[in-house]
C-alpha cells in the first residue's frame, strides 16, 4: 500500500479518525529512577550501571526524588490532578533489555490524572484531555547489527527516569496528533525536565488509532502503531494508518486489533503482534517501595516554581509586544528562543511596537537561518541579545539600509564587535539628509527628460526606474524611504 491513499477524499471525509497518544518522555536527571547509577549518554555500553540496574540478586530499588518532583511539575503544567498517595507496580515480562524481568511502573492510581493541554488548530484553540501521567523506568537497548551471531544488550539506558503521558482519544487527525505532540514537547522543554528530542529517543510516541463513520457513537476497532521516531513520522504514520483502515473497511474487510510497526523507509505500517499474543503483564503493587506521598507543601512549591509555558507566553507576546500571532508562535517554540527575544527587546533603548517587530524579524529570518544551518542551539549563539538590539536600533534610526543589516549581521557572526562599530568601519551610513537627496533627484530628472515626459503622460510604472537611478547615483547610501517620498513629490508637482 502506498502512502497516498487510493480512496477518494470524499469517502475519507465520511470517516472520523479517533486517536489517542501515549508519549514517553525521558527525564533529565543525573541518577536513574531507582538507583544512584549515572544516566549520562554516550559512554561505553554497560558502564552506566550498578548492581541495582543490572538486576543482581539481593538488590532493591529506591526512588529518585527528582522523578517524583518532575512528574508533579508535568502534571501541574498539563492541568492534571495530583494524587497525594500513589503506588508503584511491577509490569512483568521477559525481554533481554529488561534486567529484572519486570519494569517498575505505575498501574492503578497513577500520580497524575485527568488533565488537558490546548493545541492551536489554525487559530482555533482545541483542548486534548490527558487521561494519566505515570512514572516508570526505562529499558536497555538491544543492538542487532554489531555482531553477526548475537544480539548485544546495552543497559546504559536501563532504569533511566521515564514518564508516560496518556491522552484521551480526543485527537481526530494526524495534524492534531502532530500539534498535540509538539505541545507536549514544548511543555517538557519549558519545564526543563526532558530534552524533547524524538530522534534521540528522549521523547517517544505510540498511537492508538481507529476510525468510525461520522456521527457513529461506537468506536471502531483500534490498532496501536509504534516505532515513529520523529514528529513528521508520527504525522505520516497516523495518516497512513487512517487510510489503511478506511480502505480495509470500504473493501468489506475488518480492522483487526493488533500492534503495528511504522516503517519510515517504506512509509507503511506492518503487523508486529496480534491481540492473542499480547502479554499478560501481571501487574501487582511493587512490594519493595513504599507509597509515593505528595504533600500539599510539595504541590504548592511545585506550582509556585512553574515557569510560564509557551501557550501563555505566546498570548503575552501578542499583547505586550504587539507581535503578530505567527511571530509569537515562532518565538515561543522553545523557552530559550523566547528568552532570547525578550532579552533583545528589553535591551532596546527606545521601545516601541515597531522596534519589537524588527527584533522579531531579524530573529526569524537571520538568527533562525544561522541556527538551522549550523545545527546550533540559541543558548550557544554568538550574537547575544544585547548586540542584536544594537543592530535593530541602528536600523530603526534610519542610519543603515535593510541590505546593510544583512551585511552587518554577517560580520557580527565573525567578531564580537557591536553593529555600530561594524557599520562605521564599512562606511554603511545611510544618508537621510533631505537637501542631499533632493539634489540627487533633480539630477536624475534632468538627465532623463524623456522618461519624465512619459511618466507625466501616464506611464506611472516608471516610478521604480527613477528610484533605481537615484539610488545608483547616491551609490546606495540614500535612505530609500526618503528617496521615495521626495521623488513622489517632485514627479507629481507639475
Amino acid at each position: 500500500m502506498s502512502e497516498t491513499s487510493i480512496i477518494d477524499s470524499a469517502i475519507l471525509e465520511t470517516y472520523e479518525p479517533v486517536i489517542g497518544l501515549e508519549v514517553h518522555a525521558q527525564l533529565l536527571t543525573q541518577a536513574k529512577a531507582f538507583s544512584r547509577a549515572a544516566t549520562e549518554f554516550g559512554p561505553t555500553p554497560n558502564t552506566n550501571t550498578d548492581p541495582v540496574v543490572l538486576g543482581h540478586p539481593g538488590t532493591l530499588p529506591t526512588v529518585n526524588r527528582l522523578l517524583v518532583e518532575h512528574t508533579v511539575r508535568m502534571g501541574l503544567a498539563t492541568n492534571c490532578r495530583i494524587r497525594p498517595r500513589s503506588r508503584f507496580s511491577r509490569k512483568n515480562y521477559f525481554y533481554p533489555d529488561l534486567p529484572k524481568g519486570y519494569q517498575i511502573s505505575q498501574y492503578d492510581d497513577p500520580i497524575c490524572h485527568d488533565g488537558w493541554v490546548e493545541i492551536d488548530l489554525d487559530g482555533e484553540v482545541k483542548r486534548i484531555r490527558i487521561n494519566r501521567i505515570h512514572m516508570e523506568e526505562d529499558t536497555g537497548k538491544m543492538i542487532h547489527d554489531l555482531d553477526i551471531d548475537n544480539t548485544l544488550v546495552d543497559l546504559n539506558r536501563a532504569g533511566a527516569c521515564l514518564i508516560e503521558i496518556v491522552s484521551e482519544p480526543d485527537i481526530h487527525s494526524s495534524r492534531e496528533a502532530y500539534l498535540y505532540l509538539m505541545q507536549i514537547k514544548s511543555i517538557v522543554t519549558y519545564l526543563g525536565i526532558c530534552s524533547g528530542n524524538m530522534e534521540e529517543g528522549a521523547l517517544r510516541c505510540d498511537a492508538n488509532i481507529s476510525v468510525r463513520k461520522r456521527g457513529a457513537e461506537k468506536f471502531g476497532t483500534r490498532t496501536e502503531v509504534k516505532n515513529m521516531n520523529s514528529f513528521r513520522n508520527v504525522e505520516r504514520a497516523i495518516e497512513h494508518e487512517i487510510a489503511r483502515q478506511i480502505e480495509l473497511l470500504e473493501s468489506g474487510g475488518q480492522v483487526v486489533q493488533q500492534t503495528r510497526m511504522w516503517d519510515a523507509a517504506s512509509r507503511t505500517t506492518r503487523t508486529m503482534r496480534s491481540k492473542e499474543s499480547a502479554h499478560d503483564y501481571r501487574y501487582f503493587p511493587e512490594p519493595d517501595l513504599l507509597a509515593v506521598i505528595v504533600t500539599d507543601e510539595m504541590m504548592q512549591a511545585a506550582q509556585a516554581a512553574l515557569p510560564e509555558l509557551a501557550i501563555a507566553r505566546r498570548r503575552r507576546f501578542v499583547e505586550e509586544y504587539g507581535l503578530p500571532a505567527y511571530d509569537a508562535g515562532v518565538l515561543t517554540e522553545t523557552r530559550d528562543l523566547g528568552d532570547y527575544f525578550e532579552a533583545a527587546a528589553g535591551a532596546l533603548k527606545q521601545k516601541s511596537t515597531e522596534r519589537f517587530k524588527l527584533v522579531s524579524n531579524i530573529i526569524m529570518t537571520e538568527v533562525l537561518r544561522v541556527l538551522t544551518e549550523s545545527k546550533m542551539e540559541i543558548a550557544a549563539f554568538e550574537i547575544r541579545p544585547e548586540r542584536l538590539a544594537g543592530l535593530v536600533e541602528l536600523f530603526a534610526s534610519d542610519a543603515i539600509s535593510s541590505k546593510n543589516v544583512k551585511d552587518i549581521f554577517g560580520a557580527m557572526l565573525e567578531s564580537d564587535r557591536s553593529a555600530e562599530e561594524i557599520s562605521a568601519e564599512k562606511g554603511f551610513v545611510q544618508i537621510s539628509d533631505n537637501g542631499f537627496i533632493e539634489d540627487a533627484v533633480q539630477q536624475v530628472l534632468a538627465a532623463n527628460a524623456r522618461q519624465l515626459d512619459a511618466y507625466r503622460g501616464g506611464k506611472t510604472n516608471l516610478f521604480g526606474f527613477f528610484v533605481g537611478e537615484t539610488m545608483k547615483l547616491t551609490r546606495g547610501k540614500a535612505n530609500p524611504k526618503l528617496v521615495n517620498e521626495i521623488l513622489r513629490a517632485k514627479l507629481d508637482e507639475a
Binding site: 543482581h56 539481593g58 532493591l60 534486567p99 501481571r282 512490594p287
Partner: protein
C-alpha cells in the same frame, strides 16, 4: 553446653584465646561435621585473614563489639566476591558484586564470616530437602531433617561450628529449624533489618533473621544488623534499642501473655502440648497472667501465605533468565529457548511449582479471586494480631506442631510440608516479630521442642526479655 559470646569475649580480651584460634576451631568443626551437608562454602583464607586483623585490634583495645564472633550465612545473603547460590543450580558460577547491609554491619563490628550454608532452593521449603546441593541432616538423627529453609545456618549454630548465624524468614524459615535443632531463632519486625543483599523470595514477608545458642547472643546480633538503610526503602527509621541489655535479670512478673486457642490443632505432637503447658505453668508461677486469646483467621493463614508468597516470588525470580549471569542452557539457540531451557533446567521442582502458582494467581482474570483476596485476608490476619496485642503484651505459641520429621516424610506431599508453617506464617503476614527458643525435648526421641513468643510491631526488647527469662527458668 557452649559459652555465650560475652563469656568468649572475656577470654578473648584477657588473652586466653585469639580470633585466629576461634576461627581455626570453627573451620575444624565444620570439617568434622561435613556429612551433615550444612555448608556450601567455607571462607578459609578470608576468615583467617580477618581473624589476624581483628586480633591486632583486640590487642590494641580497638576491637569492635562483636570481635571474634563467628558467623555462618545462609547462601541467599550476599558477600562481595563470594558465591551466592540460593541453593540453586541457576546461580551456578555467580559471585556477588557487593555485600548485604546486614553482613557489612556484622563485619564493621568485627564479627567473622566463615562460610555460606545450605538451604532449600530460594528458601522455598521447610526441610532443606529442595536444595540443589542435596539435603542437610539433623545432627541428632541423620535420617531427620534439620528444618528449613535455613537448615544449614541452623546446623552451623546447633553443632557449635559458629557462635551465631544468619538465615532468612519468609514464613518461618528460621524459627522452624531453630525449634527442630534446639536453638534460638529470631524473626524481627518487618522493616527492622535491611533486606539489601538478601535474595528476594517474597519481598513483603522476607526478613534476615539470626540464629544463636542463647537469647543474649541472638539479641546482640539483631541489634548489630538492625536499623534503617538508604538501600532498602522498606527498612524502618525507628531507632534500634539495645536488646541485649538487662537480659540477665529479665522477668515476666505482671505481664499478660496470650495463648491463641486456634493454635490447638489436630495432629499436634504430645510433647509439644506438654512443653506449652509446662511454660504456661512457669509463667503463672512467675507472676505473669496467662489468658486465652483468639486469632480468628488462623485457618486462612497457610492459603493466604502461599498466594502472596508465590505471587511475589514469581516476579522476584524472573531475573534468573540466563541472560546476564548464572546458568544458561547450552542447548538454547533462540531467546525464547534461552529463557525456557535455562529456567527449566536451572530451577528445581519446588521452585517451579511456586513460580507457576504465583504466575497463575497474578494472571488476568484470576488476580481478584486470588491475589487481591489474599491481600484482604492478610489485612484480617494483621488485624487479628494487633487486636490481640491490645489486650496482651506477648503471645506464646508452639513454633511447630511436631519435632523434626524424617527425610522424605513430607517431600512428596507439598500441602503437608506447607502446613509445618502453620504457627509461624501468620507472624510474617502480620509483620510482627517472634522468637523461637528451646523448651525441652521429646521424651522418646530426645528431639528438641521449640516454643515462641510473638510480640507487637517493634516489640523486640520485650520479646527478648521474656525469652531470656524462659531460657533461665528452663535451665534451673
Amino acid at each position: 553446653m557452649t559459652e555465650t559470646y560475652n563469656d568468649l569475649r572475656k577470654r578473648l580480651d584477657q588473652g586466653e584465646t585469639t580470633c585466629s584460634h576461634i576461627v581455626a576451631g570453627a573451620l575444624e568443626r565444620a570439617g568434622a561435621t561435613k556429612d551433615l551437608n550444612a555448608f556450601l562454602a567455607l571462607f578459609n583464607e578470608r576468615a583467617a585473614a580477618r581473624a589476624e586483623e581483628i586480633d591486632r585490634r583486640v590487642q590494641s583495645g580497638t576491637a569492635g563489639r562483636l570481635a571474634g564472633m563467628t558467623i555462618a550465612l545462609k547462601d541467599n545473603i550476599a558477600v562481595r566476591d563470594e558465591q551466592l547460590t540460593c541453593g540453586s543450580r541457576i546461580l551456578t558460577g555467580f559471585t556477588s558484586l557487593y555485600s548485604a547491609t546486614a553482613v557489612a554491619r556484622l563485619e564493621a563490628a568485627d564479627a567473622i564470616v566463615i562460610g555460606k550454608t545450605n538451604m532449600d532452593e530460594f528458601a522455598m521449603g521447610s526441610s532443606n530437602e529442595s536444595s540443589y546441593f542435596g539435603p542437610a541432616h539433623h545432627p541428632m538423627d541423620r535420617e531427620r531433617v534439620p528444618g528449613g529453609s535455613s537448615g544449614g545456618s541452623g546446623i552451623a549454630v546447633a553443632t557449635a561450628v559458629t557462635q551465631a548465624s544468619l538465615g532468612s524468614e519468609t514464613g518461618g524459615s528460621v524459627r522452624q529449624p531453630a525449634a527442630f535443632l534446639g536453638i534460638v531463632g529470631v524473626k524481627p519486625t518487618y522493616g527492622r533489618v535491611s533486606r539489601y543483599g538478601l535474595v528476594a523470595f517474597a519481598s513483603s514477608l522476607d526478613q534476615i533473621s539470626p540464629f544463636a545458642r542463647c537469647v543474649a547472643d541472638a539479641a546482640l546480633v539483631l541489634e548489630t544488623i538492625a536499623g534503617s538503610d538508604p538501600n532498602d526503602a522498606t527498612s524502618s527509621t525507628r531507632p534500634v534499642q539495645n536488646y541485649a541489655d538487662g537480659l540477665d535479670t529479665a522477668d515476666v512478673h505482671g505481664k499478660r501473655i496470650g495463648i491463641p486457642s486456634e493454635y490447638n490443632i489436630d495432629g499436634m505432637h504430645d510433647s509439644v502440648v506438654g512443653a506449652l503447658n509446662e511454660m504456661r505453668r512457669r509463667l503463672v508461677e512467675a507472676g505473669a497472667e496467662v489468658v486465652e486469646i483468639s486469632l480468628p483467621h488462623t485457618k486462612y493463614t497457610i492459603p493466604c501465605y502461599y498466594v502472596i508468597a508465590t505471587a511475589e516470588a514469581s516476579s522476584n525470580l524472573a531475573r534468573f533468565d540466563g541472560a546476564r549471569y548464572g546458568y544458561r542452557s547450552p542447548n538454547a539457540t533462540t531467546v525464547e529457548e534461552m529463557y525456557e531451557m535455562s529456567r527449566s533446567e536451572g530451577f528445581g521442582e519446588e521452585v517451579k511449582r511456586r513460580i507457576m502458582l504465583g504466575t497463575f494467581v497474578l494472571s488476568s482474570g484470576y488476580y481478584d479471586a486470588y491475589y487481591r483476596k489474599a491481600q484482604q485476608v492478610r489485612r484480617l490476619i494483621h488485624d487479628d494480631m494487633t487486636s490481640a496485642f491490645a489486650n496482651v503484651d506477648l503471645i506464646l505459641a508452639p513454633t511447630t506442631p511436631t519435632p523434626a520429621f524424617k527425610l522424605g516424610e513430607k517431600a512428596g506431599d507439598p500441602i503437608a510440608m506447607y502446613l509445618s508453617d502453620i504457627f509461624t506464617a501468620a507472624t510474617n503476614l502480620a509483620g510482627v516479630p517472634a522468637i523461637s527458643f528451646p523448651a525441652g525435648c521429646d521424651a522418646t526421641t530426645g528431639l528438641p521442642i521449640g516454643l515462641q513468643f510473638i510480640a507487637p510491631h517493634f516489640g523486640e526488647a520485650e520479646m527478648f526479655a521474656a525469652a531470656a527469662w524462659a531460657e533461665r527458668t528452663l535451665k534451673a
